[in-house]
Symmetry: C2
Subunit: 182 residues, 2 copies
C-alpha cells in the first residue's frame, strides 16, 4: 500500500485467540487503514483471524497481506540480514516525538518491521530492535501506539484512501451512513 | 488533565465485559494517556473495569475519572443542555482532517464529549451528535480512532506528560526498561 517501493510491515507477538482476539484484529485493521503493507503474527496460528482480515481486504480493497510467523526471533533476524529496520513499540522506549523525523527519512530508503508486543516482551526483542519507541510513557494500548506511529509515518492515510478494487466505499457525511457498493 | 478549564470526556457505548473487556480498558487508558479528563461507559456496570482504571491512575498519577452511565441518551441530552459539544466517532462521519481545525478552536471555549460506539450504534446518536467524525473511512478500531482524535486535539500528549502524584514513572530509553518508583 506504501507509495514507495519500501515496505512497512507489522509483527504482533504472542497472539492468543481466547484473550486477544479483538485486540489482534484491531491491530491488523489499523495496519491496513494506516497504510502498512503486511501484518504478521506469532503465538497461536489463528486461521479465523486470517480469514477475517482477508475478507475485509477483499471487500474494502487494497493489497494487505496477513501471515502467521511460527518463529518470530528467527524471522526478525532474517529481516535484519535483509537490512530491514526493526522498530519495537514499547512504553519504555525513546519518545516517538524525538525520533519520528529520523524514522521518516529512513523510511524512504529501507523496509520497516514494526513489532508490537505487550508488557511481557522478552529482553531479546528489545536488543534486536534498531529502535525501541514509546508513544507516551503511560500505559495504554498497542492498537493506539501502532495507529499513532503509522499515522505519523503516513499522514496521507487521513486524506486520500487509495484502496484498489474495493467492493465497498464510504462517502463521508455529516449524519448517517452513505455506502457505495461498487 | 486538560490545560484549560474546559473538559474533554469520553463515553464508550454498550460495554459488554465478556466480549469487550480489553477493548474498553484500552479505550479508557488511551483517554487517560492522551489527556482526556473522564471516561464514561454504558452497557454493563463493570466494577472490575472501574477498579483497573482507578488503580492505574493511582499508580501513574493524574486526576482521571471513570464512571458508569446507565442511560447514555439521557446523559448526552443533559450534556447538550450544558452546551457540551458532542463528537461521535464513526467510520461514516466527516473526515477528521477537514474538521480538526474547527474542533481545536471550539475546544478553547466548550467542553467536549467524545462518543465511541461500534458498527451498530443507533441512529439517535448520529442525530444527537454535533459532529460525526471519521478517522479514515476504513474499518479499524475505536481504540485507534480515539487515540488519533485526542492526539490531534492534544499534541502535547506526546511531549510533556504531566501526571501529578505519580508513584511510577518511566524514563524513556534506547533499550530495556527504566522505571522510577517515587
Amino acid at each position: 500500500m506504501s507509495k514507495n517501493i519500501y515496505k512497512t510491515n507489522v509483527l504482533k507477538l504472542n497472539h492468543r485467540p481466547e484473550r486477544d482476539k479483538r485486540i489482534t484484529t484491531h491491530c491488523a485493521l489499523v495496519g491496513r487503514a494506516f497504510l502498512a503493507d503486511s501484518f504478521y503474527f506469532s503465538g497461536v496460528n489463528d486461521k479465523k483471524l486470517i480469514m477475517t482480515i482477508k475478507n475485509i481486504s477483499k471487500n474494502w480493497g487494497g493489497k494487505y497481506n496477513i501471515k502467521y510467523i511460527s518463529k518470530p526471533i528467527e524471522f526478525i533476524k532474517k529481516e535484519k540480514k535483509k537490512n530491514t529496520i526493526i522498530i519495537h513499540l514499547t512504553m519504555y522506549g525513546e519518545k516517538i516525538i524525538d525520533k519520528i523525523d529520523e524514522l521518516k527519512k529512513i523510511k524512504k530508503k529501507k523496509n520497516f518491521l514494526i513489532i508490537i508486543g505487550g508488557p511481557k516482551v522478552p529482553k531479546e526483542y528489545y536488543e534486536l530492535a534498531d529502535y525501541n519507541i514509546s508513544v507516551t510513557n503511560q500505559p495504554h494500548s498497542e492498537v493506539a501506539s501502532l495507529a499513532i506511529l503509522l499515522y505519523l509515518l503516513n499522514p496521507e492515510s487521513l486524506i486520500n484512501e487509495k484502496f484498489n478494487n474495493a467492493k465497498i466505499k464510504i462517502i463521508p457525511c455529516k449524519c448517517g451512513k452513505k455506502v457505495i457498493p461498487f
